[in-house]
C-alpha cells in the first residue's frame, strides 16, 4: 500500500468515526461497517474525476455525508429489523407520494410503492449471503428521501418501457395520422397557399438546411448551455424550473438563454456560410422563418395541445 492510498484509507477510517459520532442513532454500527460505503462514495464523486484530490477535499466530502440516513441504510443492509421498521415508518409516505407522481392512477401507484420495498430489500442473494438490494447503492451524499424518490422514478420509467414494448394499439393509428397531418400542415415553410411552387420548394429546402444547421449548432454548445436549451425548449420547462435544475436563478437562466440565442445564430450563420450561403441569404432566411413561424403559431399550438393530450393518455 503506497503512501497516498494509506493516507486516503486513514481519512476513511477517521471519517467513519466522525460520521458515527454525528449520527443521532448509530444502530450499533462500527466504523468498519461504514468504511466500504464511504470508500465507494468518495471514489464515485471525488476520486473518479480527480484521482489526486487533496485530503482536505476528501475529508470535507465525508463530513458532508448524511450521517443519520447512511447509518439507517447500512443497518438495514446488515439485516437490522428495527432499522427496517424505522425506514418503512419514516419513508413510506415519501415513497407513496413519489409513486403517485410517477403513476397516473392510484392502483398503479400502490403497486409501484410496494415493489419499491422489494427492490430495496433485494429479491436475489449476493455471494456473501446477503440480499442484493438497491440499498447498497445509497452513498449518503444526498438525502435518503430524495434517493427514494429517484429510485421510484427510475422504477416507474423501467416499468413504462416494459409496457411500451407491447404491440401498438389500433387506436394509435389515428394518432399517427394526427402527427403526420400536423407535420404536413404545420411545417413552417409549407404553411399557407403556395403561390409559386418553385419558390415554396426553395423555401422548404432553405428551412430544412437551417434546421439542420441549428441542430448541429446545439450539439456544439457547452453541456450546461445545451442542457438549458433542452430543458426550456424540448422539455417545455419554465425559466425558473430550468434554472432550478441548473442550480442558477431564473434571471441568470434568462440571461444565459439570451446569450445562447446569439451564439446559436452566429454558429448557424457560420455553418450556412460554409455551405455557400451569402450573408443576405442567411438574413433573409432567418426573417422568413420568423415570419412563417409567427403566422403558424396558432394552429401549431392547437395541434400541440392534441398531441400532449394523447401522449398523456398513452403514458397513463
Amino acid at each position: 500500500m503506497n503512501k497516498r492510498t494509506e493516507q486516503i484509507e486513514n481519512l476513511f477510517a477517521a471519517g467513519a468515526s466522525r460520521l458515527l459520532a454525528r449520527a443521532a442513532e448509530n444502530h450499533s454500527l462500527t466504523g468498519e461497517t461504514l468504511i466500504p460505503r464511504i470508500r465507494a462514495a468518495v471514489g464515485k464523486y471525488v476520486l473518479r474525476d480527480d484521482p489526486q484530490a487533496a485530503p482536505e477535499v476528501v475529508k470535507d466530502f465525508i463530513d458532508k455525508l448524511q450521517a443519520d440516513d447512511l447509518c439507517l441504510i447500512v443497518a438495514c443492509e446488515q439485516g437490522n429489523q428495527k432499522a427496517w421498521g424505522d425506514l418503512v415508518e419514516r419513508f413510506s409516505a415519501t415513497v407513496r407520494s413519489a409513486a403517485r407522481s410517477a403513476s397516473s392512477n392510484e392502483e398503479g401507484a400502490e403497486d409501484l410503492a410496494q415493489s419499491i420495498w422489494a427492490e430495496l430489500h433485494g429479491l436475489r442473494v449476493r455471494d456473501d449471503g446477503k440480499p442484493a438490494g438497491k440499498l447498497a447503492y445509497y452513498s449518503g451524499r444526498g438525502s435518503l428521501a430524495g434517493w427514494l424518490r429517484a429510485v421510484v422514478a427510475q422504477l416507474a420509467v423501467d416499468q413504462h418501457r416494459k409496457q411500451s414494448r407491447l404491440v401498438q394499439p389500433e387506436e394509435d393509428a389515428d394518432f399517427d395520422r394526427i402527427i403526420r397531418h400536423g407535420q404536413e400542415e404545420n411545417t413552417w415553410s409549407g404553411h399557407g397557399v403556395a403561390v409559386n411552387p418553385e419558390l415554396e420548394i426553395s423555401k422548404k429546402l432553405a428551412g430544412a438546411e437551417m434546421q439542420k444547421a441549428l441542430a448541429k449548432s446545439i450539439k456544439q454548445l457547452t453541456a450546461e448551455d445545451r442542457l438549458l436549451v433542452k430543458l426550456y425548449y424540448f422539455d417545455g420547462l419554465r425559466l425558473h424550473e430550468a434554472g432550478a435544475v441548473l442550480g442558477v436563478h431564473e434571471a441568470t437562466a434568462s440571461r444565459r438563454l439570451t446569450r445562447v440565442h446569439a451564439e446559436l445564430r452566429q454558429q448557424v450563420e457560420r455553418i450556412l456560410a460554409d455551405q455557400g450561403w451569402t450573408k443576405p441569404e442567411t438574413e433573409q432566411a432567418f426573417s422568413e422563418v420568423a415570419l412563417h413561424l409567427e403566422a403558424d403559431i396558432e394552429p401549431l399550438l392547437a395541434t400541440e395541445g392534441v398531441l400532449m393530450k394523447k401522449e398523456n393518455e398513452i403514458a397513463g
Binding site: 464515485k44 464523486y45 471525488v46 474525476d49 480527480d50 413519489a98 407522481s101 438497491k134 447503492y137 451524499r141 444526498g142 430524495g146 434517493w147 424518490r149 429517484a150 422514478a153 427510475q154 418501457r161 411500451s164 414494448r165 401498438q168 394518432f175 399517427d176 402527427i179 400536423g182 407535420q183 413552417w188 434546421q211 453541456a223 450546461e224 445545451r226 442542457l227 436549451v229 430543458l231 425548449y233 424540448f234 422539455d235 420547462l237 419554465r238 425559466l239 425558473h240 432550478a244 435544475v245 441548473l246 440571461r255 439570451t258 440565442h261 446569439a262 446559436l264 445564430r265 432567418f286 426573417s287 422563418v289 420568423a290 413561424l293 409567427e294 401549431l300 398531441l307 401522449e311 398513452i314
Partner: protein
C-alpha cells in the same frame, strides 16, 4: 435588431423542439423506447445528488453532459429538483433559529471576511474621524465669524477698509494656489501658525483669525507691501464686512474666552437671522467677485462671506429659509420623473406611467409573478429592468404596445 435576431432563433428552436418531440413520440409508439442513445444512465444516487445540488463540481459537469443528451435521466432530475426545492424551502422555513444565527455569525467573523472587512473598517474610521475634525474646524470658524466685529477696537483697529474681502482660510488657500503665488503665502501661513501656538489667549477664534491674517497678507502681497506678522495679528480685521443693519454689537477682544463664548452663544440666534436677511439682500445684488476688481468692490466681501455662510448653514441643517421655500414650491409644482432603459416615467400616485403612453389606449395587464410576465421579460429583458427599478405598478409602452405591469 439584436432582440429580433434572438426572437428568430427562439422561434426556430421552438420549431425544432416541436418536430423532435413529435418524432420522439412516434419512435416511442413504434419501437416502444424513448431516448436510448445513452446507455450509461445515471443511477438513483447520482440523480438525487445532482438534483439536491450536492455533487462536487467536476462530477456535476460530467452529469450535465449526460443530462443534456438523455431525456429519461433529465426527466427524473426535473421531477426530483422540483421535489427537492419544495423540501428545501420547507426545511429552511423551519430552521430559522439559533443554529442559523451562530452559523451566520461564524461566517461573518471568518478570516476570509475579516481579511477585507478590517481594512475597510479602518479606512472608514479614518475618513469618519477626518470628516469630524474638518467639521469641528468649520464650526470653530463659524463661531469666530460671529464674533462681534468691533470687539477688538481697543487693541486692533478694524482693517475693513483696507481689506474688504475677508475670505476664509480655505478660500484664501485656494485663491493663493490658483494664482500661483503659493510659496510666499504658504510661508506666511506657517509662520502665523507657529505664532498662534504661542498665543494662548487666542484659542477659539484661531481658524478665523488665521484666515483673516492670510487674507490681509494676500492683500498686502497684492499691493506689494509685505507686513510684519505681529502687526497683522494686532491689526486683523473682523470676520467679514457686513452691512450696518446686520452688524453685530462690538465686544472686547481682551475678554477672557469663557465670557466671549457665552456672549457669542447668546448672540448666535439673532445673528443667524441677520445673516439670512443679508443673504436675501445679497441675492438681489449683482456680484462680480471673480472679476479683477474683486478686492475693490465693497459689497463683494459681504457677498463672499454670505456665500460661505450659505455653505455652512447648508452643511448644518439644509437650505436656508428662502431656499426651503423655493424647494417646497418645486416639489408642489413638479411631477416626479425617472428614466429607466431609455424610457421616461412620470409618477402618478403609486403608478409609474411612461411619458409616451397615450391614455386612450388600453394597456395589457401583466402581473409580476405571472408566467406571462416571465415570458415577456425573457423576450424583452429591458422590461425586467424597468419593472425592477420602478416599484409599484408601471405602465410602459414597448414596441408599440402598452403594458401595465402590476
Amino acid at each position: 435588431m439584436k432582440q429580433a435576431n434572438n426572437n428568430e432563433v427562439d422561434l426556430l428552436l421552438r420549431s425544432l423542439a416541436r418536430g423532435r418531440n413529435e418524432s420522439a413520440l412516434q419512435n416511442r409508439l413504434g419501437s416502444g423506447g424513448g431516448n436510448q442513445a445513452t446507455p450509461d444512465h445515471l443511477d438513483a444516487d447520482e440523480l438525487n445528488s445532482y438534483a439536491e445540488g450536492v455533487v462536487p463540481a467536476p462530477a456535476r459537469a460530467r452529469y450535465m453532459e449526460h443530462l443534456a443528451d438523455c431525456d429519461a435521466c433529465r426527466g427524473i432530475v426535473v421531477s426530483l429538483t422540483a421535489a427537492a426545492g419544495t423540501a428545501t424551502r420547507s426545511a429552511a422555513s423551519e430552521q430559522k433559529g439559533g443554529v442559523a444565527f451562530w452559523q451566520k455569525l461564524a461566517t461573518l467573523l471568518s478570516p476570509a471576511v475579516l481579511r477585507y472587512a478590517v481594512p475597510a473598517l479602518v479606512l472608514t474610521a479614518v475618513i469618519g474621524i477626518s470628516l469630524a475634525m474638518w467639521q469641528q474646524r468649520r464650526q470653530h470658524e463659524f463661531i469666530a465669524q460671529n464674533e462681534p466685529v468691533g470687539s477688538s477696537t481697543s487693541t486692533r483697529p478694524s482693517k475693513q477698509t483696507e481689506s474688504p474681502t475677508s475670505p476664509s482660510t480655505s478660500e484664501t488657500h485656494s485663491t493663493i494656489q490658483k494664482r500661483g503665488e503659493s510659496p510666499a503665502a504658504t510661508e506666511l501661513f506657517k509662520e502665523e501658525n507657529n505664532l498662534q501656538d504661542d498665543k494662548t489667549r487666542v484659542a477659539q477664534g484661531a481658524g478665523s483669525r488665521t484666515g483673516e491674517i492670510a487674507s490681509s497678507a494676500l492683500t498686502a502681497k497684492d499691493a506689494g507691501q509685505p507686513a510684519e506678522l505681529n502687526d497683522r495679528l494686532e491689526l486683523r480685521p473682523g470676520y467679514a464686512q457686513e452691512p450696518k443693519a446686520a452688524a453685530p454689537a462690538p465686544a472686547a477682544s481682551t475678554l477672557d474666552e469663557a465670557d466671549k463664548s457665552n456672549q457669542v452663544a447668546k448672540e448666535q440666534p439673532a445673528k443667524r437671522e441677520d445673516q439670512e436677511r443679508q443673504r436675501d439682500a445679497y441675492k438681489n445684488t449683482p456680484s462680480d467677485e471673480h472679476g479683477p476688481n474683486r478686492s475693490a468692490a465693497p459689497n463683494t466681501a459681504g457677498a463672499l462671506s454670505n456665500r460661505r455662510l450659505d455653505g455652512l448653514s447648508a452643511g448644518r441643517g439644509g437650505p436656508s429659509g428662502p431656499e426651503k421655500k423655493n424647494k417646497a414650491g418645486e416639489k408642489a409644482g413638479d411631477v416626479e420623473t425617472r428614466t429607466v432603459s431609455g424610457r421616461r416615467f412620470a409618477r402618478e400616485g403609486k403608478l409609474w406611467v411612461d411619458t409616451a403612453y397615450d391614455s386612450s389606449r388600453t394597456p395589457i395587464k401583466v402581473a409580476r409573478d405571472s408566467e406571462q410576465f416571465r415570458a415577456l421579460v425573457a423576450d424583452e429583458p429591458e422590461l425586467r429592468a424597468i419593472a425592477d427599478q420602478l416599484n409599484g405598478e408601471v405602465i410602459v409602452v414597448w414596441k408599440n404596445r402598452a403594458y401595465r405591469i402590476q
